[in-house]
Symmetry: C2
Subunit: 405 residues, 2 copies
């Protein structure tokens, strides 16, 4: 059950981006499990990747290729993560890139590989390379929706968003897709995001944008606190729009950035909304911190607490669990008497205990909503941070206990 996640929107095509889909039969015969992005010459690509030290082979290869050549193709497969596969996994990923490069007449380093699916099994290279010609033959500008479906694993719904913004009188398009339903399932390793724009973006700025917006969106969501071996978020800019180039001092940067942020946030939140077993979409808003680190420590400690998450599932305004999570977040010298905790506009905690004006009925009313914000004001500084998470339900256990059987 996805929380507030509707069907895919209409996608605006992105000039300079064509998408191909094919079926390699990696896990199930007939399933569309290969997606290829083709980028026009001159496109810029920047990405952020998992920080897991057991990072998957395709992440290693994509990073290296990005440093070696201008990317022209992204090759994504589902059904196999090519993670936990040792050195053979790197060779396998390179072989797939090499095959696509030969067909398309580009260098191997111009192909970036991405994999998602089961960990620890060898990549079926022959199946994948056998499906590449079909993917290339079917390349088209209008196939974003199919691509969103093609990168799904156990996602219950495809995830995508498309925006247009007018810069200097010219329309710029941003379209993106993402997948993921647990922050990690190493079996289905895990979060991928692909965002393309036809804006012309100065290359250093593009990396800054993907880092900053990725940090504020994909790096602020958590289903279960785990970090996949395969996570990647890629931002592509083809420069095919007629809008002027955007650099760090561009008068259009603010508008472009706002539209891009909307796309990143929508795609990241969609992953939480489709979180495994999720019945609630929860924003944890920590303010009044002295440092970003302590704001994040508090936010993630609350977001990861199984007790807070099961209380959210139960629509139980169990403020003691939130308070105890704040207290164990490792922030030194917290002034317990100063902290305030709200659920939406209902104050739960003030002066180290239950707020005088709190009533169980008001708490219960907020907790019964599908979308809830927990505000935690530490009252010791000016830093604030937000993270997004979901609740923890019976279905989470069912999904993760039964996945391989």
């Amino acid at each position: 059950m996805a929380v507030g996640l509707g069907p895919l929107p209409e996608f605006f095509p992105v000039r300079g981006v064509r998408v191909g889909i094919a079926s390699a039969g990696i896990k199930k015969p007939g399933r569309k499990d290969i997606v290829v992005f083709e980028l026009a010459e001159g496109s810029q690509v920047a990405g952020i990747f998992t920080r897991n030290q057991f990072c998957a082979a395709p992440v290693t290869v994509t990073r290296r290729h990005l440093s070696e050549a201008a990317p022209r193709y992204l090759l994504i497969n589902t059904g196999n993560a090519n993670a936990g596969t040792g050195r053979k996994g790197v060779v396998d990923a390179e072989q797939c890139c090499s095959a696509l490069a030969a067909m398309a007449g580009v260098s191997e380093a111009a192909v970036l590989p991405f994999s998602t699916g089961v960990i620890g099994e060898s990549l079926p290279v022959v199946k994948i390379t056998g499906a590449l010609s079909a993917a290339l033959e079917g390349l088209g500008e209008e196939r974003w929706g199919e691509a969103a479906e093609g990168i799904m694993t156990t996602d219950t719904l495809p995830k995508g968003v498309s925006r247009q913004v007018v810069l200097g009188g010219e329309t710029v398009t941003i379209s993106g897709i993402s997948k993921g339903a647990g922050m990690i399932r190493p079996n289905m390793a895990t979060m991928l995001g692909f965002i393309a724009t036809d804006a012309k973006v100065e290359s250093t700025l593009l990396q800054t944008l993907v880092s900053e917006l990725g940090e504020a969106s994909f790096n602020r969501i958590t289903i279960d606190g785990d970090t996949s071996t395969n996570d990647a978020c890629i931002l592509m800019a083809t420069g095919q729009s007629d809008a002027p180039e955007i650099g760090p001092d561009s008068p259009f940067l603010a508008d472009f950035r706002a539209a891009l942020e909307d796309v990143f946030m929508t795609l990241a939140h969609a992953i939480v909304r489709d979180g495994e077993g999720a019945t609630k979409f929860v924003t944890i808003n920590v303010s009044g911190a002295e440092t970003q680190q302590e704001a994040l420590d508090v936010a993630y400690t609350v977001a990861h607490s199984p007790l807070v998450k099961t209380a959210l599932f139960a629509s139980d305004p169990n403020w003691g669990r939130i308070l105890a999570a704040v207290g164990r977040a490792g922030v030194p010298d917290l002034d317990i008497d100063a902290i305030e905790i709200h659920l939406d506009d209902v104050c739960l905690v003030r002066h180290g205990g239950r707020a005088e004006d709190y009533s169980e009925a008001r708490g219960k009313a907020v907790m019964s909503q599908q979308e809830i914000t927990i505000y935690i004001d530490l009252k010791r500084g000016d830093v604030h941070e937000r993270v997004w998470t979901c609740d923890f339900s019976h279905d989470y256990v069912t999904i993760n206990a039964d996945y391989r059987t």
Copy 2:
């Protein structure tokens, strides 16, 4: 369902310790919810306490009383944690101590208060003080088993252990009880351990022993990664045995310490065995670390991973989840190719991927056991650490989602 946890053992009385039980009707009429320990004059007491900054009022008061006077009484109530109760909670705890002190003819600071139960509700001082005379009148040396039952909250079984060791030809007794079924449930805040011996122990050494053994036992167990507001572990030594006094250079220290460690470990493990919804008792053994911190970071990251825990519940040898948890534990410059991971004697991971000699059948056989050890050898140093945890089942969600209803 408790894993490998039988009925209470026979308790050896501890000379100089008497136990009283009474019913104050705090949460349910007739339930035995008050336990009083009386210690002979000259007893030494040392403790370790929660590191949660929202620590409960009784923890604050006990710490202060320990610094002010020689303890003569411990007053424990269940049904109400007196946590999240602000300054009023401290006054309430002091009133209970004061009432018991007046009846027993000792100073208020000679009474140490402990509470466990619902967070955020005022301590029912009148009910508690009304039950004290019954508790004092019933004091006896043989009531350890009733005390183990009297401090239970949602524990499914009482937890206790009793050992004797001969030192210098004289018998020394150690008896202890504990409670707790989640590492935290702020509602039922949470872990308490009371261990008494009739040995005569030099007072600085007593604090060293409770700190070191508590660190290796109660501070190495985790059900759900949370830290209660009320956790406390108390070690009492009455000195009533005829064995010679034990100091840091005593020839008897090693034997005494070994017996005491057995008591601490048994009580701590009993909490994990009775973990909420637990069906497996799991030891995480990390070796080959450079520092204690990185050994613990790896061990706790694995122990807290909802994905590892649900795989344990499912008896699914899903080594990818263990590997991914190790990879995200924040240890810098891990040599992925060197790490080895075993389930008992079955090697799962070697050279960055699945071990060549691993088979799903062998992995499944180990994972189907009720007691499992996960060995993780980082192969970079000489430090090792162990933590104990349980799996994550449907019943965990049921218990924590339905607790207050």
